[in-house]
Structures are given as C-alpha cells and as structure tokens.
Symmetry: C2
Subunit: 279 residues, 2 copies
Amino acid sequence: MSEYMARTLFFTSLLYRTTTEHKRAVAEFCGNVELCRLTEQVVFSDPYKVSEYNHWTSPYLDRDAEAVRNDNILKLEVAELKSMFCERAQALIHGDLHTGSVMVTHDSTQVIDPEFAYYGPMGFDVGAFLGNLILAFFAQDGHADEGNDRKAYKEWILRTLEDTWNLFHKKFTALWDEHKDGSGEAYLPAIYNNSELQLLVKQKFMKDLFHDSLGFGAAKMIRRIVGVAHVADFESITDASKRAVCERRALDFAKVLLKERRKFQAITEVVLAIQKLHA
Amino acid sequence: MSEYMARTLFFTSLLYRTTTEHKRAVAEFCGNVELCRLTEQVVFSDPYKVSEYNHWTSPYLDRDAEAVRNDNILKLEVAELKSMFCERAQALIHGDLHTGSVMVTHDSTQVIDPEFAYYGPMGFDVGAFLGNLILAFFAQDGHADEGNDRKAYKEWILRTLEDTWNLFHKKFTALWDEHKDGSGEAYLPAIYNNSELQLLVKQKFMKDLFHDSLGFGAAKMIRRIVGVAHVADFESITDASKRAVCERRALDFAKVLLKERRKFQAITEVVLAIQKLHA
C-alpha cells in the first residue's frame, strides 16, 4: 500500500508534472462532483450535525455523539480539512481508500473501487488507510476471549501503522530524489539548487502531508463511529456494551488526533499515544 | 477596491456557492493555463534564479539580487505560496490586480485587464494591491525635493494601506453574515450553529487570508524590484543611486514580510513595521 500511495500520489502531483498537464487533468476530474459531494456530506458534515443518516451504538454512545456535535474546536478543525478537500488539487487521489478497497493475496495487492477519484489533497488517501488501521486496533478488545487475547494481533496492527507511513515516506521521497531534475514544476532545480534547501523543502512537505494525513484519518475514524457507514471491525462485536467501550476509545483518540495533529512529529509518537490511552 | 475585492472573492467562493457550481467554474478556468504559467514564472520562479528576464538597478543592487537567489528560507516560503497558487481553487481571482489595473475617477473605480483570471487563492489578489501600495510608499523618498518632501503623501499611502485591508475585512465578513444561511457549502448553518463558533471560524478564515495576502504581496514586491517587470513609482526616479536606496528598503521589507508574515496579527502592525524600518 505504501508503494501504491507513493506512486499514484507522486506521479499525479506537480512534483512530477508540469502545470499544463496538471490543470488539464484537474479539469477532467472536476466532473466527478457528485461523489465528492457525497464524501463532503458523510465525512465532513453529517457527523457534526443531526442527520437521519447518522447512527451509533445507542444508547451507550448517545452522549458521545452529542459531544461531537457540540465540540466547537473540533468543528473549527473539520472546516479546515473540508476546505482542503474541496479546494486543493494536489494529486489524483483514490478518494475512498479504506482497507475494504484493498484486496490482498500472498503475492499481490490490488486496489479497487476508484469511482471517488479526483484531484484532492494527498493526505485524504494516506489518512484513510492509517485511520482504518487505528479503528481495527481499537476493535480488537471487543473480539478478545479466553482463547485469544488478540494482543499479538494488536501489536501487528500498530507495527503495520508505523511501517505504512515510514515506507510511504521512504518511497515517496525516493521518487522525489529520482525525478528532482525532471519536468515537475513545484520545485525547479535552478531554484532549489543546494542540498540543504532540498532537504528543507522535503522536510516541510512531508511534515505538512503527515499532519494532513492524521487530520483526514481522524475525520474518517469519527464518521465510522457516529456517521452513516461503519466498519466491520466494530460491527462484528455482537455485545453492544462491549462494542461501545471500544468505539468510545477510538472516538476519543480520533478527536485528540484531529485537534492536536500538528503536535505529532512522527508516526512513532502516534503509536505511543495510542498505547498510552489504551494501557 | 475593498468593495471590488470583497464582492468578487466572496461570491465566487464556497462561502456563497455550492460545490457543484464551484467545481464547474473551476474546470472552466483551468483552460487559462498559459497566463497562470506566466505568473508562476515571473512571480515565483525568475526572481529566485538566474534568468535573462530579470533586471534591477545595477550595479547598486547586484548583491541584493544575489542575496535573494541565495536565501534558502525565502525560497522555502516562496514554494509554499507557489503551491497555493497552483493548487488552491478558493475563488475566481483577477490574477494581476496591481494598481495599474485600476482606473479611478472622482466618482468611479473600474478594474481592467482580466485576462489572468482563474480560480486561485484569494490572498493573491488582496496581496497584489497591498504590495503595490507598499512599493509606492518606499518610492516616495526618491521623488522628494526641496519643494515637496512627500511626507503627507507617504502618510496618505499608509493610511490607504490600512483602510484597504480594514474595509475589505469589514465588507467581506458583512457579506458572510448576510449569506450565512444561504447555499454556500463551506460552513453549513446546521453545523456552524452558535455565535461563538461562527466567530471562531470567521477569525480563523480572515487570519489565514491576511497572512496569505501578506505573503503574496511581498512576493509581488520582490519581483517588481529584481524580476522582469518593474513599477513606474521606482522607474521614474531618474537618479539610479537614489532609486537603488529606495528599492533596497522595499526589498528588505518584502523579505521580512514574506518570511515572517504569520507574526503580523493586524494591518496596523504592518504599518508600524514599515514606519520603524523607515524612521
């Protein structure tokens, strides 16, 4: 998945393309407005207002859902993410890159369901995938029983979370290095002409992308708990009170992640925060 | 001009429009890629590299122009502004809103030359106008003589700078208030449903727009001193050494403004910084 994200996002961005190619492609995908609107509604709007489409593990999470609707700081931050989703044509994104869109066998990984694709912020794809992994982590306690405490699986999920970002970072910046003297017009080689500066712009770009990814990932976690479509990881916990406990932990973490995403400097800090909350 | 900017930017943004209308309009203006590319080159690229199109008051500013080309932090910040210019479809902007595009009589103000128009960041228009006023301010000492020290005119320019932003802010937020329950989809009334939150989102939006405007304004000042097309305010100073002194002051201020734009909380602070530098 790191390879998929690094390649699709890099090669459709201004790091690789001229602005002429970019604007032509952006215009082409502006037609996909109906599915963008659906995302705007289910990710950035419905969870933050009363909506007939919302549902949650009731009555356990009634007050949690209400708290989301009444959280001014959360809604302020969500507005910034929504603006980015609607206005920023950074790369051709999948637009619905949850783990259910990824088909895996031992020797092959395939991504399906590209109908939401359009030019948007890279962090929306990266965050969708990371957010789904975090949801899966928080769901495991609801599936634990005497025969299997799920501890090893939980550790595997956190390791995968960390590896996914780190590998994505590595592959993305490697593509950037490889093509830095190519036709991409974001950072012209005649201007970004010394290694110190090249490092500076790369660090800034990746830091911003990391924070965008955490923000979008958190927004997608929230909508999977109090919005319209939920995830199998939680839905398959049959005991509702047990499910609610797991969901509340995930929701509380997502709120912190969304509001304080800029405080995280590395994915290890996110993993530590999850472990701390969950101890 | 405040009225013009407030109305054109507000009514073509997601504060007033649905995302369906917005995406359709964005696609339409993606065709104007050649003039966008010209702006990218003359504003965000040429001044920061050796280019046959650049010129400046030589030999006086040779080292100043070289310093611009070697300023890593400046180039890091310029990259962020360029990304915003290329990727962020916030509103239909004029794209070349320097003071020469504004025709004024006693009872009428008309804006001409809309050929650069496309969907871009609002701050590019606001900044272009503010930046031109600041350039005009710094040019006055080159025109002062025994008969006219230009002091009153300089004060008028700074007052106009302050009034332009403040009036723009007032008119823009008034339009927002007036249409807050309309069809604009950035901040849905069902979500942004209390006055504290409405104030928060407005403050954040206007603060970000202010900083964008200062950044773009500074970038346009720099390109008017060491890039291809200069301004009459400076060009009409016939004594080259005198002109260079004025231009250097403007350039030094623009560099500070671009790099430290986020430190300014209000336009009065910008005016104070100009006065301090110029004392």
